[in-house]
């Protein structure tokens, strides 16, 4: 788009460490925070988060931050502040001169670094606006949180910021650079490194399985690590998110020490992490949940049409419970022909019902991850 703008910025950033964008997704699920209130009230969590954000902003000149609340009935921007979309008539007047109605007034405080104050003010104001807009009906409607939406917002924001920093970043965007410009343009630019931190308190996220999975793959493709700080509850989904994207997964024993965990575990950005030994999740539970009973299985039966996972091969009338197609188990049983070379890998093999029961090879029962 505006190449001139991009090159201007480049000159500035060439020297220091690459600018880093931190997108924080704060799970503000009221149900879960109500449970936590005795150990870690939401207010002190936000206080700790603000200190953490300030530390991030202070550790690099070009560092940026974005904060999104994943609430029970909506996912909302906390920082930067969106201009509220005003329906119909009000917006008819030219909006450039009239002050946007979303602007946050920052009180002048000579004792505070201005960027810190900006973030703090807008975050607190937007958050209290979000809380006051929450009705009892919203709370009654769902026990969980819109983590899928918040993640999608964060990813799109990051994608756009990366574009803003280097307009011709990937070969996909511009047709001709693929051959000629590739060497010259790529080395000259310092790309924006970005990461996502999810402070999660909610448990079951199974209803957002597909959106969250899509987000994970998008993050994987764009090489955006997703860090998880799990204060309460437990989801295999988020653990897989951090594992797939190379992020940090932490489940503190004592949530009271939140600030400590944030500062020690999550402050280093992608550049710094290369020279650190990051806490690893160790063994990760990758077992899947069957679509029929939500039972965790380690051997499952998969519909070749819609990829639904079932825990047993005997479906009623041999029809897939999700897409209704007729599934022949016979087709899955045909043996590999002998003349195929050893290298050939077959994506199907089954022996009827002989081992339909999940074997004893993995620890039985729960879906809790194995922390070592």
């Amino acid at each position: 788009m505006n190449g001139i703008d991009g090159t201007d910025r480049q000159v500035k950033t060439d020297e220091g460490p690459p600018p880093s964008l931190l997108a924080v997704v704060l799970d503000t699920n009221p149900h879960a925070w109500a449970h936590l209130s005795s150990t870690l009230p939401l207010s002190s969590c936000i206080a700790a988060l603000l200190i953490f954000i300030n530390a991030h902003l202070a550790s690099g000149n070009g560092n940026e931050v974005a904060v999104i609340a994943s609430h029970s009935h909506r996912a909302e921007w906390l920082y930067p502040t969106p201009h509220t979309t005003s329906p119909s008539h009000r917006s008819k007047l030219n909006g450039s001169t009239s002050s946007p109605n979303g602007t946050i007034k920052i009180p002048e405080n000579p004792n505070k670094y201005r960027p810190f104050a900006t973030v703090e003010q807008s975050l607190l104001q937007n958050f209290s606006a979000l809380l006051s807009s929450t009705k009892e009906a919203h709370l009654a409607a769902t026990p969980t949180t819109l983590i899928g939406g918040a993640l999608s917002l964060a990813l799109s924001y990051i994608a756009k910021s990366v574009l803003r920093h280097s307009p011709v970043d990937t070969g996909i965007e511009n047709p001709l650079s693929a051959l000629a410009d590739s060497e010259s343009s790529h080395t000259a630019r310092v790309p924006l490194t970005s990461r996502i931190l999810i402070v999660s308190v909610s448990g079951d996220l199974a209803n957002q399985y597909i959106p969250v999975m899509n987000s994970i793959f998008a993050a994987q493709r764009k090489r955006i690590p997703i860090d998880i700080l799990k204060l309460a509850g437990d989801t295999v989904l988020l653990q897989q998110a951090s594992d797939a994207t190379g992020g940090v997964y932490m489940k503190p024993e004592q949530p009271e020490g939140l600030l400590q965990y944030l500062m020690m575990g999550f402050l280093p950005d992608a550049t710094a992490r290369r020279s650190l030994v990051m806490p690893s999740a160790g063994g990760v539970d990758f077992r899947a949940a069957c679509f029929c009973h939500r039972k965790v299985v380690d051997i499952g039966f998969v519909c070749s049409v819609c990829l639904s996972i079932f825990c047993e091969p005997n479906l009623p009338d041999n029809l897939c419970l999700t897409c209704g197609s007729y599934l022949s188990l016979r087709a899955a049983q045909t043996a590999t022909p002998a003349l195929i070379p050893r290298k050939k890998k077959k994506k199907k093999r089954a022996g009827g019902g002989d081992s339909a029961t999940p074997g004893g090879s993995t620890p039985a029962g729960s879906s809790t991850p194995m922390h070592l």
């Binding site: 769902t142 899509n214 380690d298 087709a331 194995m370």
Partner: protein, 503 residues
């Protein structure tokens, strides 16, 4: 895009390409080259793109649509053109079809001397090698539980570049090995001689013969030449391919060939849209990448002669857990000492990476995330619509919902007449629910164009997005940030602006 194929067809294909193919047996290609010009005038221009494999009945009047586009093309700002070009890459048809998620693909590369042509920089061969590597990566990104093999048409023969496997690194190394052999004894495979479509199809057929019936069998040919030097009757081969339910897609260069058209149409139940011509290298890349989308499974009613396209099956799969070890142990796949890995759910053998077939008990081992990676093909995100100034004013949108970048200002009400009419026309179209629905269906299958207000609207949540987010959400994320940010109390599962699969 479709039109350009034809303009090239008539003129550009210099006839000297056809003069004196060395051997006498290239009868097919020569005969077809004779017919070629007559053909170009007879056949109506197909207004279809590579990925639009089903003729959509929703496009009631393609002629009218074409005129509309032509008018608009004339008055386009540079930025709109840019956005136009980007949006072309969006999937044309987001209607849910049953798609063949488990694919078995043989990629056939043309390594004949025509590939030394310099109409692509630095030449066709190097361009193709470069793009196919990217293609293989993207293919496995989109189809993680699929298999691929690479063949090459070289000097009349069909050579095997890589075996059928699900490991992208293997294929990429093999394709690179064509130019830069890994062992010193091997000579690089420089383009040489003539290609043979028959040999390629026969070898591909042999490779795909044993693949299970619930997967697809596809041959994708990158074909730069204008001849095919075949040892026998290629029509017999085509018949055999049809019998074995192999579908062939061809990405040609420079000109359309009658024989290619026939191969594609016979193996795709009369649908010729899988035969596309890349007139420049960017188009070549796009057309290749378009084939990474899993193909639509054709319903079997209309084609009674061919066997069922795909027998759905239940597949047994293992979902292993990762183990962490302090002491290195031997892995079952390579026999190397490694710490950590995945243990097979059935026999507890340790493997290094997933997805893989257990080397000891042959169970398919993968992560549930590998399956989830294909979900966006099954539940695609519906395309967003262009927003007229009128609509933008109505919604009062100022900035992109997901990236918060500001939109261009809505112009004041007294816009010139032309634009007014435009808005009114759209407005009147929107009247009535039925009309709206029809419009949505129409736009679903229409070409995606740039929006005059630089806004794009999700029809489910009515949020407005910028062009960059539009591209990102449809090409990478496959989520609508707007829909997912609002709780829809009616549905338990998040809706996501996806279309619902009808089966």
């Amino acid at each position: 895009m479709a039109d350009s194929d034809y303009s090239i067809d008539g003129e550009d294909a210099s006839d000297d390409e056809y003069v004196g193919p060395k051997a006498g047996s290239s009868t097919r290609a020569q005969a077809s080259s004779g017919k070629r010009k007559a053909q170009a005038t007879e056949i109506p221009k197909p207004r279809k793109l590579a990925w639009e494999t089903e003729p959509s009945e929703a496009v009631a009047n393609p002629v009218e649509a074409a005129e509309e586009i032509d008018e608009e093309v004339l008055e386009k700002s540079v930025q709109e053109r840019e956005e136009d070009r980007k949006r072309k890459r969006l999937r044309k048809d987001t209607k849910p079809f049953q798609r063949g998620i488990i694919r078995h693909v043989v990629l056939v590369l043309d390594l004949s001397e025509t590939m030394l042509e310099r109409d692509m920089r630095p030449n066709r061969y190097i361009t193709m090698i470069r793009y196919t590597q990217e293609y293989v990566r993207e293919f496995f990104e989109q189809n993680p539980i699929s298999q691929m093999s690479v063949l090459g048409m070289h000097d009349g023969l069909c050579i095997r570049v890589s075996e059928l496997s699900g490991n992208p690194a293997e294929h990429i190394a093999a394709i690179q090995g064509l130019r830069f052999p890994r062992s010193l004894q091997d000579l690089p495979k420089e383009p040489k001689g003539s290609p043979s479509l028959q040999n390629a199809l026969e070898l591909a057929r042999a490779m795909l013969y044993h693949t299970p019936s619930h997967g697809t069998r596809e041959v994708i040919i990158v074909f730069g030449s204008l001849i095919s030097l075949d040892p026998g009757d290629i029509h017999q081969t085509i018949k055999a391919c049809v019998r074995d339910r192999i579908r062939v897609s061809i990405v040609g260069m420079s000109a359309r060939l009658r024989i290619c058209q026939e191969i594609v149409s016979r193996t795709n139940a009369g649908d010729e849209s899988e035969y596309v011509i890349a007139t420049d290298q960017e188009l070549l890349r796009e057309l290749l990448l378009a084939t990474t989308t899993p193909p639509v499974i054709r319903s079997t009613e209309d084609t009674t002669t061919t066997p069922a396209e795909s027998a759905a099956a239940l597949m047994m799969m293992g979902f292993p857990s990762r183990v962490v070890e302090d002491v290195p142990t031997m892995c079952a796949c390579h026999g190397n000492l490694t710490t950590g890995g995945y243990t097979c759910s059935r026999c507890s053998a340790k493997v290094c990476s997933l997805p893989v077939t257990c080397p000891s008990c042959q169970l398919t081992l993968l992560l549930s995330t590998h399956l989830a990676r294909s979900y966006h093909h099954l539940f695609p995100l519906r395309n967003w619509v262009e927003v007229s100034w009128e609509r933008a004013r109505e919604r009062g949108s100022r900035e992109c919902v997901s990236c918060l970048s500001t939109f261009p200002e809505v112009p004041p009400e007294d816009v010139d007449d032309e634009e007014m009419q435009d808005g009114e026309r759209l407005q009147s179209k929107m009247d009535g629910d039925a009309a709206r629905q029809r419009r949505m269906d129409k736009e679903d299958s229409e070409e995606q164009k740039a929006s005059e207000s630089a806004r794009y609207e999700c029809r489910a949540c009515e949020s407005h997005f910028c062009i960059d987010c539009d591209m990102f959400c449809h090409l990478v994320l496959h989520n609508c940030p707007g829909c997912l940010s609002m709780l829809n109390p009616a549905s338990e599962v998040q809706e996501n602006g996806d279309v619902v699969m009808t089966g």
